[in-house]
Symmetry: C2
Subunit: 413 residues, 2 copies
């Protein structure tokens, strides 16, 4: 396999003003890393002809593949083509297909097309033109002095579509390899990032096919495995073997693969078993049931819930006994249990789950901030646990919901 060194250049003053982060470079780097392409530099330069040209000249001196994002649009500030032409003297011509598409767009919108829109259809003579399936400006691959220049729009979804459909297959071909590269993401809940890393650190250190990379995620933690082989069967075998090794160690925290979320997993499991669930939520304020309802098809597994933030709603609507609240308070095992039992009866579901606690910033009923009771009740049993979460109001509420999802998943799996 040929070793290729890549450099990613973003053109756009908005990046230098800090209006956006260069997430394009991050995403492209992830893709190239999975293909074994070395990315040695990222650069950002503003909408200035001279500085863009200088940046291109330097890239030409040190990289095999130069990926440029941005600066292909219709305005005077879009200077990527001009800077490359100034450096190389390559001629440009109007790409007819692209021009037709632009004209059609304006025709359809019933808006007069201003002349500057023609700019977008210009491509370098001899370039491989990359169809933009989402926006207007086409991408290009230009070969010059044994370097490949890849020009892509700065709009992330246009750039990603072109990378996935055209550029990555092209790069793989360039590398003169029939290797297949594939990733698999393993998702975990109920285990911290550092603990997970610790449990598999020897594998992370010693293995390079698949490579294993822990990634921080908003919800739970994940391991990304990336394998290479000359057939899809071999790649899958490598991934499956490593997955099995990992799950032998931390399988009890594993819940799903790739794009699966814990919510979608729970909705699937509920469907599979023909179960339904309703939630009675105090401090979480509806966040738990909202997460389930965000999943397509949730209507077959949940009728809804009650947000009983106030003690009166707990008593009058949900039917928690006033004595329970009087004796034990609303932040108590007893209250949580009645909430879960009652929501299940009231909404006639298989499972009832409840959340009550102190999100802060002030204590409630002399219970410290972070105290949360979660109860789950079904036909045969009721369980309640006390948790103490650290963090601010928002973090405590999110941790409570995540813990609820974890408990439910463990009961259902």
């Amino acid at each position: 396999m040929k070793q290729l060194n890549a450099e990613i250049i973003a053109v756009g003053t908005e990046l230098l003003l800090g209006q956006i982060a260069n997430t394009n470079a991050q995403w492209i780097s992830q893709q190239l890393a999975a293909y074994g392409v070395n990315v040695y530099y990222h650069g950002v330069v503003g909408d200035n002809l001279k500085r863009v040209e200088d940046t291109f000249a330097q890239a030409a001196s040190r990289s095999d593949i130069i990926i440029v994002t941005g600066g292909l649009g219709p305005t005077d500030d879009d200077l990527t083509r001009e800077a490359f032409q100034s450096l190389t003297n390559l001629p440009m011509n109007e790409h007819q297909q692209s021009m037709e598409k632009i004209e059609q767009y304006f025709h359809k919108q019933k808006v007069e097309m201003t002349a500057n829109n023609r700019k977008q259809a210009r491509v370098f003579t001899g370039a491989v033109v990359i169809n933009n399936k989402i926006g207007m400006a086409p991408g290009m691959i230009v070969s010059r002095k044994e370097k490949k220049w890849i020009f892509l729009p700065g709009v992330p979804k246009e750039m990603k579509q072109m990378m996935l459909d055209d550029i990555l297959p092209y790069v793989r071909n360039m590398m003169g390899s029939d290797e297949i590269i594939q990733s698999m993401v393993l998702r975990f809940i109920g285990i911290g990032e550092s603990k997970l890393e610790h449990e598999v650190s020897d594998l992370i250190q010693s293995q390079n096919n698949p490579t294993i990379a822990p990634l921080a995620q908003q919800q739970g933690v994940v391991l990304r495995l990336t394998a290479k082989a000359d057939s899809i069967e071999k790649v899958n075998l490598l991934l499956d073997q490593t997955k099995a090794t990992i799950l032998q160690r931390v399988g009890k925290h594993y819940y799903g693969m790739n794009e699966e979320t814990i919510e979608s997993k729970i909705v699937s499991l509920l469907k599979e078993k023909g179960y339904s669930i309703a939630a009675a939520e105090s401090l979480t304020g509806g966040m738990f049931i909202e997460r389930l309802i965000s999943i397509e098809g949730a209507s077959s597994v949940t009728p809804g819930g009650i947000v009983c933030y106030d003690a009166n709603v707990k008593a009058n609507v949900l039917g928690v006994q006033k004595e329970t609240i009087g004796e034990h308070g609303t932040v108590s095992k007893e209250c949580a249990l009645e909430m879960a039992t009652n929501i299940r009866h009231l909404l006639q579901t298989t499972i009832g789950i409840s959340f009550t606690g102190v999100a802060g910033p002030k204590e409630i009923e002399e219970q410290p901030v972070g105290t949360v009771y979660i109860a789950v009740c079904n036909n045969s049993e009721s369980k309640v646990e006390k948790y103490v979460f650290n963090g601010n109001r928002e973090i405590i509420r999110r941790k409570a919901v995540l813990k609820g999802l974890e408990i439910l998943y463990n009961q259902l799996k």
Copy 2:
């Protein structure tokens, strides 16, 4: 005021692998832009001595201020100091205060300090040493050949602390200016980004003190004004005058300033008026009431709500008449109105709000995906409106909640 050109270099292979985005460069750029410093380049380079040195050499040739983040830690991969030394031959010495802090840290943690940790305390002779109030490695300002080299840790919170406490005041001083720079963010709801920009485009074009920049936000749209003057009074006057001009044009969509959110604004208004609110939510699944409960002190303005995703919950718990559902369906003005009226009565609040509609992916009751009814009812009147939102399930649900917040805000203000 002296014109200064800055360049920001991040050192770290994790960035080139796409494991993280270079949000440090974005944040630093925002800060420098507010101070009138031109940032002309961002660069990212991996943990490789030669390539870091080359990157530094180039920066020295074109920028007045070079800010380098990362590569100051204890491991063999941390090469920022070494690369700069290799370029400049500047000597280093151990910074005693920093060394003591590192030793104390290990002593306190009862962990033996490995030798490589000493590395972190090395500073260039003659450098201004910047205290790291959060982590271990100190920052540095090195003056060389009329350039200022600013070395900062890659950990965002350490970097930000040093920037705010030490580097930005230093830069302001360098610029030979006693100017005060201040920003103000104006927040809008119920108006699109392009419409807002259009309404004030002549001001954006013509004004440079304050400058006016539209920014995309997850919720609503904002304008950021940044003014400069030699006293706080003048800065505030400039900001207030421009704010007034803008609000003359688009004031009806304005809801708050700086860190205010529409939820926090609504909770404040409800408190002010002594009102309370409850929500009956179908397609939004609890998201509306969750947003209010996320605000500290929400307990005094909302007791909660009912998530009536299922028709049976609408009828049996919320008391919507079966005839209403039978005749008009659950996705109807009539059902929305009863939901809002009934939740208000059931939870004994001043205001009741309801959401019912089709989040997708499938139609319901022959109503197309995106159809949403929102009703608001108080002591004196009930209002209901039909909306049709574009987008996927998640976007439709979010737009519905945002519209509900907008309606409520307009009634309360």
